[in-house]
């Protein structure tokens, strides 16, 4: 399936009129992630490398937190190192985890590659996975939240 500009406009209109602030639409190899009030529009395998880095000449805080801190009762799992994040063990394979599933502390939530060295990333917390922030095959910074979990005791 491919999306036309008209489809996107309609989806945006639906989201605008709805009570939701966020919409994730996934069909085949296409993923659309819309979030209201922010500039985050990510596509699968976004060509980060070629995106121009434009910023005005006035010094401003460099990286405003792209994701608000976890609200009470939720916990974010930060990237333990900088590298390229992968949601699945290999291209085409099913992702390690999906939103809504239960994770244990030892559950692998993804892989971070640093110069061809693959590092398994574990949840480190037990609970329900409520959100996945990191986009597949893109660079994540040290400390960047990868997923959000609602911990259970």
């Amino acid at each position: 399936m491919s999306l036309t500009a008209k489809n996107v406009a309609e989806i945006l209109k639906l989201l605008d009129e709805s009570a939701f602030s966020e919409l994730v639409l996934e069909t085949g190899d296409l993923k659309v992630h819309l979030r209201r009030g922010e500039k985050a529009l990510t596509r699968n395998e976004a060509p980060e490398a070629s995106a121009p880095l434009v910023r005005s000449g006035i010094p401003a805080p460099a990286e405003p937190p792209r994701i608000a801190p976890a609200p009470p009762g939720l916990r974010d799992v930060p990237a333990p190192l900088l590298g390229v994040f992968y949601r699945a063990p290999k291209p085409g394979a099913p992702p390690f985890v999906e939103v809504g599933q239960h994770v244990e502390e030892t559950t692998i939530i993804g892989i971070i590659e640093v110069m061809k060295l693959m590092n398994s990333i574990r949840a480190g917390v037990c609970g329900e996975l409520v959100e996945i922030f990191a986009t597949n095959a893109t660079l994540v910074e040290y400390g960047e939240p990868l997923v959000r979990v609602r911990p259970v005791d």
Binding site: P59, E113, V114, L139, Y142
Partner: protein, 454 residues
């Protein structure tokens, strides 16, 4: 291939310095930062800041794989290593070569050739550049024989050392074997290389170095010398160009020797050859080559009008040397004071903290290279350099007057600084006369504390 986006693998004032040149050239910047530097001036000025790890340098600024991954992942086509950290680690340059990322600096082989001090001595010999009498140590008997020929006092030095680390002084040859053992085990622990060599200790020496630019094909030019003799524990505090009270003949010979050395290596990028100048005998010896941009590069920029970072980028981008030796014009005199967050009252102990207020001077011939603005933090994990205050004038008297006035205008609250030390040195007749040797700063501090009755 022209460079469009540079990942800067450094912090502090040099990160800001590199960003400024990149901005002027229309090159985008990605700054690698540790968690301690997330809110630094460099992180604000760069087009993008990428957090590479926690505060300790060994977990962030010293991780070559992470740096190269950050460059590739951010679409940067080149890495500028600045000074310190990974700048002279052949491993980073080699990783860049392997991954097709442009390293703004010399080749990995060149870094290795000058990083091993014994090999550098051999290269100097091969380039007909005089070295301090000395040589490698193989066994105690050979060391004794060599030491007798060199004479005392002498220094036992670590092959993998530098910047004053891993050195032992020997005044009596009875102590030689013991000092070699000590230096060797220390060197093994500190540098992972237990090899040591011995060298004559030149007691009255001036530290004079030559700024070079090489195209990597054998083309090398020099941009004059710098005198960095005001040092304490091998840390430079004041640097100036031209070196005062140096005969034109000796200056020309030193610059020519430096060019010869770099030509011999087919050196690429900006580099500096350091010499120890024996004042009594009007001779000079090769000390080492620094295969990077140096802290004190601005004094050379002020007198030459050449942006050394821009030339590094041009060479890395394949443009070669854009200036010929004939086109180099050195005008007037420039002097730099390193303003550090350290407390002269407490034996120059580092003074980390938050700078509550920072006011830097402005004026004719004044340049300040800094990352410190009001509210900036000085983390305890890194060096204590706050700023470099540089004064340029038509002659040394003018530059000194401007520097003195500018120092008086600096205001730094929240951390201790060595500004009072600089002001005192600038008022000392021996320094004002010019041509002090590397023992000067320690003698000066001794005189000052004697006067204070401490």
């Amino acid at each position: 291939m022209p460079i469009k986006r540079i990942l800067i693998a450094n912090r502090g004032e040099i990160a800001v310095r590199i960003i400024r040149t990149c901005r002027a050239l229309g090159i985008e910047t990605v700054l690698a930062v540790s968690t301690a530097d997330r809110n630094s001036l460099g992180a604000r000025l760069a087009n993008r800041a990428l957090c590479i790890g926690p505060a300790p340098a060994s977990d962030s600024y010293l991780k070559a794989e992470t740096i190269v991954q950050a460059a590739i992942g951010s679409g940067s086509d080149a890495i500028h290593p600045g000074y310190g950290f990974l700048s002279e680690r052949a491993a980073l340059a080699r990783l860049c070569e392997r991954e097709g990322v442009c390293f703004i600096g010399p080749t990995a082989d060149q870094i290795e050739a000058v990083g091993d001090k014994l090999r550098a001595r051999l290269e100097a010999d091969a380039a007909a550049v005089p070295v301090v009498p000395g040589g490698p140590v193989t066994d105690p008997a050979q060391a004794q024989m060599l030491a007798r020929r060199i004479g005392t006092p002498l220094l036992v030095k670590a092959v993998g050392g530098g910047g004053g680390r891993g050195m032992k002084r020997v005044d009596d040859l009875c102590d030689l074997a013991e000092m070699i053992d000590l230096a060797s085990s220390e060197a093994g622990a500190a540098f992972g290389d237990a090899r040591v060599y011995i060298e004559r200790l030149v007691t009255m020496g001036r530290h004079i170095e030559v700024q070079l630019l090489g195209d990597g094909l054998g083309g090398v030019i020099h941009l004059g010398e710098r005198d960095c003799s005001v040092q304490r524990r091998y840390q430079k505090l004041i640097e100036e160009t031209p070196a005062p009270c140096l005969s034109p003949m000796l200056r020309d010979a030193i610059c020519a020797a430096a060019v010869r050395f770099a030509q011999h290596l087919c050196y690429r990028s900006a580099g500096t050859v350091e010499f120890l100048v024996d004042v009594e005998h009007e001779t000079f010896y090769f000390l080492e080559m620094n295969a990077r941009i140096q802290v004190e590069h601005p004094v050379t920029e002020q007198v030459s009008g050449i942006d050394l970072i821009a030339e590094q980028i041009a060479i890395a981008g394949g443009e070669g040397l854009r200036i010929s030796q004939d086109q180099v014009r050195l005008n007037g005199c420039a002097i730099e004071c390193r303003i550090n967050a350290e407390d002269p009252m407490r034996d120059f102990a580092p003074s980390p903290g938050t700078v509550t207020e920072a006011i830097w001077p402005e004026g004719e011939g004044i340049r300040v290279d800094t990352h410190i603005v009001s509210g900036a933090s000085v983390p305890p994990y890194y060096d204590s350099l706050l700023a470099k205050l540089i004064a340029h004038g038509a002659d040394r008297t003018t530059a000194l007057a401007r520097l003195g006035k500018a120092l008086g205008e600096v205001r730094i609250d929240g951390v201790a600084t060595n500004i009072a030390f600089h002001q005192a040195v600038l008022g000392d007749p021996e320094f004002v006369d010019g041509g002090v040797d590397t023992g000067y700063a320690v003698r000066f501090l001794g005189r000052a504390s004697a006067r204070a009755g401490v």
